[in-house]
Structure formats: C-alpha cells, structure tokens
C-alpha cells in the first residue's frame, strides 16, 4: 500500500465516519470496500488477473452468504438491490474495453464484456439454485473445502505454479512461463479466513443474520483487506449498525493511530529492513555478534512493519466508527511464550484457537485415553504448525511452527512442574528478576525462531543458528 493509497483510504474512512447514523454510511463502506479491493489488486503476468481475482473473491463471498443464510437469498429487497449493484459494478468495470475508454479502475485492461457477463450469469444461476440444492451442511462443507483447497494451492509453490499454468491456458498464455507470482491474490489469506469464519459459524448457529451488503463490507472492509486484523462478524456487525454519531475523541485517536502506524511501518521498519536478515548479508558477516544484531533487526522490523500496518488499519476503522480488534500487545515484553502468542498476531491466534485448537482438544478430552499433556501437545503442535503453514507450505514454515510448538509445550510442562513441586530456591515468577529473565528468554527464543521464518532454506537457518552460538 502506497502512502497515496493510504491517504485516499483514510480520507474515505473519515468521510464515511461523518455519515454515522445514516444509511449512507453502510452503503458507502460497502461501495468503498468493493472499489478499493480492485484498486489495490496489482497486475500480474497472468492476463486479466487483476480483474478476475477480485471478481472471484466477490462471487465466492456472495455464494458463502447464500449458503450461510437460513432463508432464500432473494427474499429481502435490500439484498436484491445489493446483488444488482454488485453485478452492475462488475459489469461496468468491463466498459473501458467495450467503449475504448483509456481510464480504468483495474491495473490493466479488463477482459471482454462477454466473459464478464458469462461469469455473472453463472453466479446468478448459482445464487438461484443453491438454496434448492442439497443440505446446508453439505453446501457449507463444499465451500469450506473449496476455500481451503484454494488456500493450499496458493500457499504451495508447486500447486500454485500448476494453477497459474492452467489459468494461463485459459488466457492463451504459455503454460511454461507460469509462476506462483501470477496468482498474487491481494488479501486472500485474510479474506478466506473471514469467509471460513462465516461458514463455520453459520453451521453452529453463532453467525448473526447479516444482509449481503453487510457481509461484503465485513469480508472486504477496506482498512483491513490487505493484512487484517481478522475481525469476528458479530462484533463487526455491532459497530456497523451503530447509530450513535462519531465522537471527536475517536477521530483524534484514529488519526493518532494512523500517524503512529505510518511512522512504524514506513520509516522505522523500512530502515531496519536495510540491515535485517538477508541470505547475501549472512555470507558477508563474520562475527556472531553481528549475526545477533541482524536477527534483532529482523525481529523488530517484522514487528514494526506488521503492527504499523495494524495501527493504520485500526486507526482507519476508528474513523469509520468501527473498532477493530488489536493484533499486537507489546509481544516482545511478554514473560513467556504463551503470553507472547496471546499478544502476537492476536486475531490469527484466536481464529486458530476457535476453529482448530478448541475443537481438537475437546474431541481428545472426550476420548479419555489421551493424557492431559498429550492433549496439550497435540493441540499446540497442530495449531502452531497450521499457523506456520498459513504463511506458506514449506519446510521453513513447518519448522518455525514446530519450533514454537516445542517452546509452548516446554513452557506448559514447566509451569505444571513448578506448580506441583516446591521450588522455593528459585525467584518467585512475579519477581522483577524472574520477569526480566522471562522477557529476555522469550524474546531470544522468538528471535531465533525468525531464522526459519526469514531465510530461504532450513539448512541456511540451521547453519546461521550454529554460527550465532559460536559453532
């Protein structure tokens, strides 16, 4: 996101915030979120990808909404209007090509109108037919697998290359030149998790009744479309339906968060990025001390970049009157790894806790044959490895997830051991010395874990780790 894009989005957020209490605000946020989705999607070597990737996301979101609803989708006038507006907008995006207009919203020329209308017709038919087909659970599961399959494909280099090659065939491009970068799908990691949340919560009955307009706004809410936070639908809807006018304090705080985020992401993180972990640099640095400094620089670069982005997103949300959840809470000042994961990328951790850790541990507890420590081990290892693979299906992310799973398990066992044994000779956990030791230990464990995250191969990460400890 460029500073210009950020300024435009912040201005739009402020404008819609000022419309609080009117129907215009919700329509405005819906419209802005859809428009900005196309505006942010960059062109890729795959022809028309900058058009079709956002369109596909929108159409999948519509289908998810249809499946998640308890009643027929066309019953409410507002939903019919939203669908018509959405389809008309997508069709209008193709007009520059049809009417030979030089300006376009998408990064490159849109595809032919016939293919756009064909896609919209198929989606319209699906919207009409889906409520009549199969059970709600079956449709929900099918869409869940579609999203997970797409996610897995995009995150696996081999599968992404094949998918890009097949897409290239459709656009008449060479299969052999396919690369994962062809499918640079903006915000997919976050958008798909919001979609999965709506699907799973609709099955369990926790999802509130949401109109198509509010669902699209929630899924593609423009301040959070690129990198979260991953909000929960019921919480988001509460803020979206808020009728109370925006307070001046909220505007000031929103502005402060945006300014802080810009400073963290575009200045501090950018500067640290110059000196943080890079394979080429590792080969040129001789001393272990410098290796440690490079790792520290990377640790803070990552934090400042991501938390800076979150500050901007939360700040923009405040300007629109929507208080998004926080993603970070001083993670490098936490006294143990469990506390770290409660304060680092909080919304992602909570998502995995809600949809993986809790169901798995509940299921294991019912079996009774698995000991308590085994339940913890399986639950934590599974969660952390999935969080690792969420970043990309590779050995590096797998090991990074495993590294944290190991750390969390050790901490869990240590805490249990300490509770059950008399260890009076050790400083009390709440003492300043214990806390300082815990903070330093946690920070260094996390920092060493970043080696697997940042470097291109597990071997390089391992060699660097050995060099850092003088081996």
């Amino acid at each position: 996101m460029t500073l210009f894009q950020l300024a435009v989005m912040a201005s739009a957020a402020f404008l819609f915030g000022r419309l609080m209490g009117t129907e215009y605000r919700r329509w405005g946020l819906f419209g802005a979120s859809v428009v900005i989705l196309f505006w942010l999607q960059p062109a890729t070597p795959l022809r028309y990808a900058d058009f079709w990737l956002p369109v596909l996301l929108l159409l999948i979101a519509v289908l998810c909404w249809v499946v998640a609803r308890k009643e027929a989708p066309w019953k409410r006038g507002e939903d019919r209007l939203t669908l018509a507006v959405l389809f008309a907008f997508i069709a209008a995006l193709g007009l520059p090509r049809l009417l030979h207009i030089s300006w376009q919203l998408t990064a490159s020329r849109p595809p032919a109108m016939t293919s756009i209308l064909a896609a919209l017709t198929i989606t319209a038919l699906l919207v009409l037919l889906l409520p009549r087909l199969g059970s709600a659970r079956a449709k929900n599961t099918a869409l869940t697998f579609l999203l997970l399959g797409t996610f897995l494909t995009l995150k696996t280099e081999f599968l992404a290359t094949i998918a890009a090659g097949l897409a290239r065939r459709l656009t008449g491009q060479s299969f052999n030149l396919a690369a994962p970068a062809d499918l640079n799908w903006i915000g997919f990691s976050y958008i798909s998790f919001r979609l999965l949340h709506t699907l799973r919560d609709s099955l369990s009955g926790r999802l509130p009744d949401m109109s198509l307009r509010d669902t699209v706004t929630y899924i593609f809410f423009f301040p959070a479309v690129l990198a979260g936070p991953i909000d929960r639908a019921e919480r988001f809807l509460g803020d979206l339906q808020r009728s109370e006018v925006l307070k001046p304090e909220e505007v000031l705080e929103g502005g402060r968060r945006i300014a802080l985020g810009v400073f963290k992401k575009y200045i501090l993180a950018s500067l640290l990025g110059l000196i943080s972990l890079q394979p080429q640099l590792l080969g040129q640095v001789d001393s272990a001390l410098w290796l440690w400094l490079l790792v520290y620089a990377y640790a803070f670069q990552l934090f400042l970049d991501f938390s800076g982005y979150t500050d901007v997103a939360v700040g923009m949300g405040m300007l629109t009157g929507i208080q998004m959840p926080e993603n970070f809470n001083q993670p490098y000042r936490q006294v143990n790894l469990t506390a770290f994961w409660n304060s680092w990328h909080i919304t992602l951790s909570q998502w995995f806790r809600a949809y993986f850790f809790n169901p798995v541990t509940r299921s294991l507890r019912r079996k009774r044959s698995v000991p308590a420590w085994g339940i913890i081990l399986i639950g934590q290892a599974g969660t952390m490895i999935l969080i690792g693979l969420w970043h990309g299906v590779s050995w590096n992310f797998l090991i990074w997830g495993g590294w944290h799973a190991f750390g969390l398990f050790v901490h869990n066992r240590w805490t249990a051991f300490r509770r059950s044994h008399n260890l009076d000779f050790l400083p009390k956990p709440e003492s300043a010395m214990s806390r300082l030791f815990g903070i330093l230990l946690t920070f260094h464990f996390v920092s060493m874990g970043w080696l697997w995250f940042a470097l291109e191969s597990p071997q390089l990460a391992w060699e660097t780790l050995l060099r850092m400890v003088g081996m």
């Binding site: 001046p248 000031l252 500067l271 110059l274 000196i275 640099l281 040129q284 400094l293």
Partner: protein, 374 residues
C-alpha cells in the same frame, strides 16, 4: 478530562497543518542540509568509508549515490585522519574510485600497502577521492572540498573522456551542486556556461522538507548502511561475472560523435586542469594520464578501445604533454602501462592486480615529494 468537541479537533488539524507549513518554510529559507549532512555516525559509531559513497544497487552494495557533499565527506575516512601523517589525495574517475574492485583492492589501498614513510618520519597515507563520473570539473569540485583536509600531495588521474569541454557539466554531482559549480566556473573563468541548463536549480518548493524528502531519506539510509559497512566491509556489489571490455571494435572513427574533421583544438578542458592547480596552490599536484586498455582485435588499427579512436587520443596525449610543458606541471603519462588482461568491464577499469602494478610504477614519481619534506 474535559470533553473534546469538533472545534477542538478542527483546531488540532489546523495547528498541525500550520506547524507543517511553517517547518517547511523555515527549512526552505534556512537550508539546514549542509548542517544535517555533517551529522554522521561514520568515524564515530562505525569506521569511515575508504571511498566516497556511490552505489548503483544500494541493497547489495550497502552504499548509495549521494549528491550532498557534506554527507559524502562526513562519511569518508578522512574525517578520522591522524594529524601526524603525510597525506596524499587521489582524484579521478571510476578507475580511481575502484569500480569492480573491493574497497581494499583500489589503487589507493595498493599505495597504502607500500607502507611509505616521509623523510620527516611521518607515515604516508593515501586517500581515495575518486568518483565514478567522467568530468575534470567534478574532480575540481571534490578537490576544492578536500583541500580543507590539508593534503601534502595530490595525485590527479585524468583521461580524455573526462576532459572535453562538452562533457564537463554532465556529472550529476556537479549538476546537483549547481551553486558550487557556478562559483568554480566564474572564479576561474572557465570556458563553461554558468547558465547551462544541465545545472539544476531547485525551486522554492523543491527546497522544502517535502521537496527534499528523497535526499533526507537517503541521508538516513546512508547512516544505516554505515552499520553494514562495518559488519561486512562491503561498499560495492561485485558480480560473479560481467560483460568484459570490448576487444573487437566497431569501424567507427568518431569520438563523442565528432570526426577528425569536426574536432577543434580547443576541445580539451585544460582550463579546468589549471583551476585544479590553482586550488591546490602550494600543494604539489602530479597529473597522471591514466592507463587504458589497448585493443589488438578487429579495427584496432582505427581505435585503441571503446572510448577512443587513435587519431584523437594521440592528439590528446600530445596536447596534454604540451600543456604540461607550457604550465610547468608535473605530469606522468602511463597510458599504456597495463596489459590487456587486467582490464575488467571497460577500457579504464582494472583489477586489483592492475592497481598494484600502477602503484609500483608510480613510486619513483611519488618518492621525490615525500623525501623532500623536512
């Protein structure tokens, strides 16, 4: 806490805007860039650079091209030089700066490796003030600034490509230091147009913080790269392979788009060399016609190399020699010193081995100066 109303928000925004405008205005009026450029961690937090900052690919060379002279000199090792030494400054183009040579492989460092001592017992220390663009006036600009660091001897490496009248203002370093360039042109009555459009005059808005944001960001990046300079000793990306200098040459008889019939005798910028000697004043200057690659390939009967047809280079050498004689300058011509195999990607860039050969060859020319001090 008192309740905040929209008037308060409006006032905060207005004050912020006003403060931003005033700061920009003061910045443009006060021009604090020279002062900012001198704020440097080099020679304090990390070692000074062995050569002036220049980098085509900052991410790989941990170095970037700056045009702000104060920052350039503040990051140079000369800032931490000992008072008790015999200082020799090297001026010249990318060959002297050390293109495709590691920092410790440049001619300057090869000369330092000779471990010379002056007659008065002071160690002789060579400093690299070469810079990778081809213009004698650019050398003079750097010399004028470097004189503040009190050299005892100046070795000025020149070649024809840098020495034609039409090329003098092509160097971006001069263009972005238009005031200093104009002052040189006017003070030494050089045959250059001080109103030349290549010299860049910033508008008022371009002098504000917003207008100078890229330079300000570069100054900060330059400081951050200082840490990597210390960590790696790398200040230039050295690729594993590169396109080698041309052995076979085109059948083209022109130089800088001019044929022998178009060439004017006053096409050489010898007045710029005179300005350099005037700036050096009492400090001795040795003018060295630097080595170049001499092709033996196709069309080598017409051209010496990619840069020079034979007719113009022979004429230049003769003219330079006459100029040296007329002005009483100390000149050394080592144009054909190096064998072809030591040249790298161009006719003037050589390997560290080539630099070592030049250093040894120059020794007899340097020694009289360092042995004559008492």
């Amino acid at each position: 806490m008192a309740a905040i109303d929209w008037r308060f928000v409006r006032n905060v925004l207005l004050k912020a805007l006003l403060l931003f405008a005033v700061l920009n205005l003061l910045f443009a009026l006060g021009n604090p860039l020279p002062w900012i450029g001198r704020i440097s961690g080099y020679n304090i937090l990390f070692p000074g650079r062995l050569r002036l900052p220049y980098g085509d690919d900052p991410a790989q060379s941990y170095n970037l091209t700056l045009t702000q002279m104060d920052a350039m000199f503040a990051s140079h090792e000369i800032g931490a030089a000992s008072d008790d030494e015999f200082r020799v400054f090297l001026l010249g183009d990318s060959a002297i700066w050390g293109f495709l040579q590691p920092a410790e492989g440049t001619l300057t460092e090869q000369l330092n490796r000779l471990g010379l001592t002056a007659a008065d017992g002071r160690p002789v220390r060579f400093y690299n003030f070469g810079y990778p663009t081809m213009s004698w006036l650019k050398d003079v600009l750097l010399l004028e600034r470097a004189m503040g660091f009190e050299p005892d001897l100046i070795l000025w490496f020149v070649t024809l490509e840098s020495g034609t009248e039409i090329k003098q203002l092509d160097a971006p370093l001069l263009q972005y230091n238009a005031t200093a360039a104009r002052a040189l042109i006017e003070r030494y009555e050089l045959d250059q147009d001080s109103a030349d459009e290549r010299l860049i005059d910033l508008t008022f808005w371009e002098q504000t913080i917003v207008g100078q944001r890229k330079l300000l960001a570069d100054l900060i990046r330059h400081q951050v790269y200082g840490a990597l300079w210390e960590a790696t000793g790398v200040d230039q990306y050295l690729p594993d392979s590169y396109t080698e200098r041309m052995e076979d040459l085109p059948a083209d008889n022109t130089f800088q788009d001019l044929g022998p019939e178009d060439w004017r005798d006053d096409g050489y910028a010898f007045d710029v060399l005179s300005a350099g000697f005037a700036i050096a004043g009492e400090i001795p200057v040795v003018l060295i016609n630097e080595p170049m690659f001499i092709s033996t390939g196709e069309n080598s009967d017409i051209r010496y190399n990619f840069y020079y047809p034979r007719w113009v280079y022979d004429d230049y050498r003769s003219a330079l020699n006459d100029q040296c004689m007329d002005e009483g300058w100390s000149c050394v011509d080592i144009w054909d010193l190096l064998p072809g195999e030591v040249f790298t990607d161009s006719a003037i860039h050589y390997t560290p081995e080539g630099a070592r050969m030049i250093a040894e060859d120059l020794l007899p020319w340097i020694e009289p100066y360092i042995q004559s001090v008492r």
